[in-house]
């Protein structure tokens, strides 16, 4: 077996060291080694976006990142989006707009939405749909998700 390696990264704001095998993806290391099971495994080939996390602030599918590549990086998972009390406005908007049913895709959508709204606080519906093209939902038909994201944008503006 290839020797386990130490990876040092900042995960959800905390300096973290973890052991992983070189063959482990970031998704596997987050879930299996670090117990951060909020990030979901969907297709494991980059199509569905369920495993979306932020790597140095940019959304990536963690099933197509090796854990070793996170050395020195900042990783934000769904666990790092919610404040210690309550919910992030994006999460609240998803809840109130019923933008989820089974919920497996939801962490990925919320992380991808955070990246979108951090760079584009007032997206159009079209921009939302393109920004979330790499996230699949087989329950909602997307309409409620798109409305939740537009609502989240309004909530974030109201809260500043």
């Amino acid at each position: 077996m290839a020797k386990k390696q130490v990876v040092s990264a900042t995960i959800n704001g905390n300096a973290t060291e973890f052991l992983c095998e070189p063959r482990q993806t970031l998704l596997e290391a987050l879930r299996d080694n670090l117990d951060l099971t909020g990030t979901k495994e969907g297709c494991s080939n980059g199509n569905c976006g369920a495993c979306t996390v932020l790597l140095d602030g940019h959304p990536v599918v963690s099933c197509l990142v090796l854990a070793m590549e996170a050395e020195g990086a900042e990783v934000t998972t769904i666990e790092g989006i919610a404040p210690s009390e309550g919910l992030d406005p994006i999460q609240q908007a998803f809840l109130e707009n019923a933008a989820l049913q089974c919920g497996i895709c939801t962490p990925g959508f919320i992380v991808a939405t955070k990246a979108l709204l951090d760079t584009n606080p007032s997206p159009t519906e079209n921009e939302v749909r393109f920004a979330l093209a790499n996230n699949l939902c087989r329950c909602t038909g997307y309409d409620k998700i798109v409305r939740a994201v537009l609502d989240a944008a309004e909530r974030r503006k109201a809260s500043v």
């Binding site: 070189p22 993806t25 790597l55």
Partner: protein, 291 residues
Amino acid sequence: MHEFEYVAPRSLADAVAVLSRLNGQAKPLAGGTDLIDQMRMGRYQPGTVVDLKKIPELVRLELSSAGLRLGAAVPCRVINEHPAIASDYSALKDSTHIIGGIQIQNRASVGGNLCNSGPAADSSPSLIALGAVCVVTGPKGTRDVPVEQFCTGPGKNVLQPGELLVELKFPSPAANSGSAYERFIPRYEMDIAVVGVGASVTLDAAGETIISARIGLGAVGPTPIDATSAAALLVGKSATRETLELAAEAARGLATPIDDMRGTVEFRKHATGVLVRRVLETAIQRAKGLA
């Protein structure tokens, strides 16, 4: 996934040393959006994965009077965010902003897209249109390969064991020139090209006569196709629809597509002609500064 070692060399020399020492048993890793999936599927089982993203030459994007130098591991997002690429190398941005979704664009590189050597790669027709040259380095030194000679078959290219694509060099855009890329897919995003066409056009100072043109075709042959004979029909002619139709008809004749679930031979040939005309129209509009 199978077991492998991971190394992240910090210099080109170290990367070449490890790749040649392992003599084909190592795979270079750029964005990983193809490689990691291919390893998971068992298509490749390298003993060592060589991450290239710590090597300065591989992650450099440099624009100067000599043109554009694009490190092979630069992710699509960095290209998309660069205003001078949007204006001077429009076809490249047309490609990189439709490869996968945002998550893929944050990782996937043009160099990786080329080295994966898929016939339907979205960036390859644009690289042909823009006259890119591949800088390849290996144990025997560095060589330049014109991009249209890089791919040799589906998933195959000219790289020898131990060799590495370092960067792509693009000439500076000529005055009164423009370029574009378009693909046909049955939806708006997140799909593989049924046909993809990239083109660049240079007009005379009056903006009426075509001085030179390049056309690249994707997904209609075992490799991306440099449609030189179709582009040659444009030279010296006025940029009218009739002229563009001549090139479109010639490009249809150069396409050698296969039938598959994405499209039939007949459809792909037809769509090649349609896209060649449309992409030339966009490139001409851009050459005139109108789009």
